[in-house]
Assembly symmetry: C2
Homo-oligomer: 311 residues x 2
């Protein structure tokens, strides 16, 4: 039997992402990702559910207990809560441990967690770009990270060996790994994730406030495009509140550019400029092909949504 990559993995906050890490790490056991998993959650109800689901070898009551002796600690709580968790666990961390997270924003995490963590541990922030619109420990599944990207944003001076070890861990879970600066991460995600979510949240709200169209009509006729926005706008409210509060500058920058582009298309519609509209729509269609070629979506129409009466 070969030595596991990390002996003990501690997961703080086994929600959609945290519980998927636990499931994937267990599925990867044959390949020796970790020997043992310990988990904890703030709410007793979640802890009880994690026990029921058998997601960890041990479920403990406090963050301090969870990290005691752990070789890899992954903090899976909303971005805004990461600093407080880092402060709480700092005195209990094992020397040489790798400490990571899964936050959708990285510069603020580096700042908020980094200042509390002792120099005896290796802090390697991470962001697996994967998820669904569901949340909680029941929503996770072992395949969530397969063929998705996990971005690592180690602060300057981080031990390269710790980065390599965490990268190997994520690869065992099925992910591809990329390393970049926290600042660049926040800019890239502002456009590929944060702006789309903000726009989806907006448009779903807009539709809900019309006097001329009833909510029942909005729901019934949502298959024309609206339903795809509702899925995105169903994502965890607290998680997303924290994303926008912590990546304010990049999101506002992208919003500014988006507004300019909305104005340009609005003008084309107002003027009846069909050529400008068609040219734009042909260009964006090509980008869809790029997403599929990059392996980030299935070419099946409608994502293979079932169309029969059984749905």
């Amino acid at each position: 039997m070969t030595v596991p990559l990390f002996d003990t993995l501690a997961i703080i906050g086994p929600g959609l992402i945290g519980s998927s890490i636990a499931r994937a790490a267990r599925a990867a056991r044959a390949q020796n990702a970790v020997r043992s998993i310990v988990a904890t959650a703030r709410s007793p109800k979640t802890r009880a559910r994690v026990v029921e689901l058998g997601l960890a070898d041990r479920v403990v009551d406090t963050n301090a207990q969870a990290v005691e002796g752990a070789d890899l600690v992954i903090v899976c709580v909303p971005v805004g809560a990461c600093g407080a968790v880092a402060k709480e666990i700092a005195p209990h961390l094992k020397a040489g441990a790798v400490v990571s997270d899964v936050g959708s924003v990285k510069a603020s995490i580096v700042r908020d967690m980094g200042r509390h963590l002792p120099s005896t541990v290796n802090f390697v922030p991470a962001h697996p770009v994967a998820g669904t619109e569901h949340s909680g420990p029941d929503a996770g599944f072992a395949e969530l990270f397969e063929n998705r990207w996990c971005i690592l944003t180690p602060p300057e001076g981080t031990d390269p060996e710790a980065v390599a070890k965490l990268a190997a861990f994520w690869r065992l879970l099925g992910a591809n790994v990329e390393v970049m600066t926290p600042e660049h991460h926040d800019l890239v995600l502002a456009v590929t994730s944060h702006l789309p979510h903000l726009i989806a949240y907006t448009i779903v709200g807009t539709a809900d406030e019309l006097e001329s169209v009833t909510r029942s009509e909005v729901l019934k006729f949502s298959a024309g495009g609206f339903r795809d926005f509702t899925r995105i706008a169903a994502s965890d409210p607290v998680m997303w509140r924290d994303v926008f509060l912590n990546n304010k500058d990049a999101v506002l920058e992208m919003l500014g550019r988006f507004n300019e582009d909305v104005a340009a298309l609005t003008k084309a519609i107002r003027r009846g400029d069909g050529a400008a509209l068609e040219e734009h729509f042909i260009r964006t269609r090509a980008i869809r092909r790029g997403v599929i070629e990059a392996g980030q979506d299935t070419p099946a129409p409608d994502f293979g949504r079932p169309h029969g009466h059984e749905e």
Copy 2:
């Protein structure tokens, strides 16, 4: 054997929607939707493909030939081309025939087709609210309309019996049917379909024009939300150009409201007003539940996108 609802069905333009009608009507044959299907397309290549796919009993070269003797004529071409087709087929229509379409805009269709059609036929405009991001005769499938809504917008004075017959036809194809005025249809669809498409087209263009983030990065990290927009922004460019040109007022009205809501959320982000953001996100999550309860999407996370390496 019972008498079919319509003896001969003529489909002009068997693309995604037209070919799905042909497939669904054949699947519904046991229930006697139609006895025979004749199809035509403008391009010889498409006509040859329709023959190869065996979608119709007869494939003819011209619109005039197609409607000759047909009891139900469904025009399945982009909204902007419907008027010209109506003009062309008008002299060849059988007295008593039902003439319909599948356009995503209805007031302009009533105006553009209506003025050419003789009073000897029954004009019942229709819009099946269903589709995928693919187009062409290969993209269609028989189940496309199952449990989706088909909206009929008969002009004032239309024979109620013709409306009832077309409604029965769509129900045999699996759809639910609703009747409303063309003007109300255009308002409802502006918010549930046209605005979402315009926004998706915009945001995909915005992402493609950044200097600070490469196209390769946009594609790789698209699973964070962006990929869902690329699907919508991959829809047929000509069809969508025509939708925006022909539903200008309602789309501009919805865009105005959307812009106000973007401004409100932007302000909340700029001010760091987490409570306002969270409150908004909790509200939109509830609407997602409504879409699923209305049977217009599957509750499977990510639309049941495959997550394994096989994708």
